[in-house]
């Protein structure tokens, strides 16, 4: 029985999830750079240090590799750490501990251990922070067996998926698009979880299927409203989880609409869209396709600074509308 919802921002929903988890389990604690009195670079941890103290909301030195490793070691020994990367780009410094250690320890040790750690990954472009503070690296981590990679879109999902991630016995990377932090929506009170392995049909439609996640889902829904005015009825699937990928839900939709487009902010080449396209092409849904599968991904370039260039590097609403219209009307 889920309690009534209030309107919270995405950042507030994440903060509430962490507070609920810390109230419920003394082993849950937060680590990261400037997450204490500063409140986090994006004010996600906010006032939590005042409510839970410095032992549970730990400011770390600027030591991403060591810090991530400390989180892994704590997780191996009965704690439930949540490690905030100030920008997900900085997780590049910690890939050794994420990819070689957290993701593999359970398997390498023959199932003797679990690593219940959550890495929070503020990601994405659109803030004028340029190439080293704006990436969408979901596909990098989704390539690694042993990791779970999720990306909530709404405040309600952000809270429920983070609570599910904290309760999960395996390492989970939660990608939080920075442009979503201030977006608002209804969020139920109290404890609830949203599954980490299920995509959601967030807009039913008949003419084509558009698959997206996070901010790209928000833009796709906006594009779908525009498309509707010109008679194109798009079905929008919000992936929510990138590993595992809910290919079944995508195939079901494709069987209905016969057209598929993938929208993602990460670099187009070797990206999420490539995996979805080939998985659908390998499935029984392939026989239902009436047009090529379209990938609308990020540019094959580092994220630039100047706003006109930055916008051009990631799919915008108008790009989605145009590509979807072509696909739906057979102009591809």
């Amino acid at each position: 029985m889920v309690a009534p919802a209030r309107i919270l921002s995405f950042a507030e929903a994440i903060r509430e999830a962490m507070a609920i988890a810390m109230d419920a389990d003394e082993h849950v604690f937060l680590m990261g750079e400037d997450i204490g009195v500063y409140g986090g670079a994006f004010q996600v941890t906010g006032d939590l240090v005042h409510r839970y103290g410095e032992e549970r909301v730990m400011d770390t030195p600027i030591s991403e590799l060591g810090g991530a490793g400390v989180a892994v070691g704590a997780a191996l020994n009965g704690m439930r750490p949540i490690y905030e990367f100030q920008f997900s780009d900085f997780a590049m410094l910690a890939t050794e501990q994420i990819v070689n250690q957290a993701a593999k320890l359970r398997f390498m040790l023959g199932g003797a251990v679990s690593v219940p750690v959550v890495f929070r990954m503020p990601s994405g472009s659109g803030t004028g922070a340029a190439a080293q503070h704006s990436q969408s690296l979901q596909a990098w981590f989704a390539h690694i067996p042993g990791l779970k990679v999720i990306e909530p879109t709404t405040p309600r999902e952000a809270k429920g998926m983070l609570l599910a991630a904290i309760a999960d016995p395996d390492p989970v990377m939660i990608f939080e698009h920075k442009l979503l932090y201030k977006t608002k929506g209804p969020v139920p009170e109290g404890y609830y979880t949203v599954p980490l392995n299920k995509a959601a049909v967030v807009r039913p439609g008949a003419d084509l299927t558009i698959v997206a996640s996070g901010l790209m889902t928000v833009r796709t829904l906006e594009a779908a409203a525009t498309l509707e005015q010109s008679g194109v009825d798009a079905e929008v699937i919000d992936l929510r989880s990138l590993r595992p990928l809910d290919i079944g839900a995508i195939c079901e939709s494709v069987k209905k609409t016969s057209r598929l487009m993938c929208v993602y902010e990460g670099v187009k080449t070797m990206g999420i869209g490539a995996e979805i396209s080939s998985a659908v092409a390998e499935s029984e849904a392939f026989d239902f396709l009436e047009a090529p599968i379209i990938r609308l991904g990020g540019a094959d370039a580092p994220i630039p600074y100047s706003p006109i260039l930055e916008k051009a590097s990631a799919p915008q609403v108008a790009d989605i509308v145009e590509a979807a219209r072509k696909l739906a009307t057979g102009a591809v």
Binding site: H27, G69, V72, E96, R106, A112, K148
Partner: protein, 341 residues
Amino acid sequence: MMDDRAASSSSRPAANRPPVYDRLTVAQVHEALHKMILIRRFEESAEDEYMRGMSYGTMHLSIGEEASAVGMCAPLSDTDLITSTHRGHGHCIAKGGDVNRMFAEFLGKETGYCHGRGGSMHIADPSKGNLGANGVVGGGIPIAVGAALAVKRRRTGAVVVCFFGDGANNEGVFHESLNMASLWKLPVIFACENNLYGMSTSVKRSTAVKDVAQRAAAYAMPGVIVDGNRFADVAEASFEAVERARGGDGPTLIECKTYRIRGHSRSDRNLYRTKEEIESWRKRDPIELFEAELEALGLASREQIEAIRAQVEVEIRKGVAFAEASPVPSAEDLLRDVYTT
């Protein structure tokens, strides 16, 4: 139980007796010798298995470094923790590991510590507090610090011994980890087994300071240098560091000066060091030094030592037989344990 203390059974003047024997019972001293010999014979047997084509992949032997593994673990109980390295057989046995399951892992068998998923470089035994060997140089160091953070928060009273080699002291994560451990006064002991070479590159050619222990000063913790081939020296330093850690005073860096008699791994042709150098270290064999000291101090007779050696041979034979008779994993189980749920 003071009468059982090792020191009281010796007739030697106290001044010549390493102080660690005041901390250990005779039975504990004999067990330390047993473990050192078991490590040596385990690795020699593993090498034989490899030569006979029974094992696969690579292995990193710690022959010549047994005193640092057993000495560092001397003050620890099963609830204390260690992190280990790619050269980790000694650490596993020192922490109470089962050679049957170690041999089985070597042979890639389902009965091995990792059910054949890890091999030599990933043997762990959480039931004995061994958080595992690690294939990445320095990979276990922040994990040890995190384990120390966990036991401090959970108030278990445990300490963590973090083994690593001289090669790891130039990894950035070594520095990040020592800084955090000291900053947060965590109960962790950093045990650097300096065997003079990171694969082929000597410490002189890789490390700007003369002694790894000097690095401790940068992180406001004690840096202690011990003769890593002498059990008593290593164990005494470990006892002192463990007391400091349990007392809430934070970490210590102990540098055990030792030597790896065998090559880095199976591919090593020893092109970077001389036969004379290897021979000079062979003369300081940690097991022979330990046995001689125990005999001189009256802590073990030659007969007792021979009995320990005979017992080890039985354990080794049983371990090899167990491993060879064990089933291989099923390919159908390939994806097992990628995830818990």
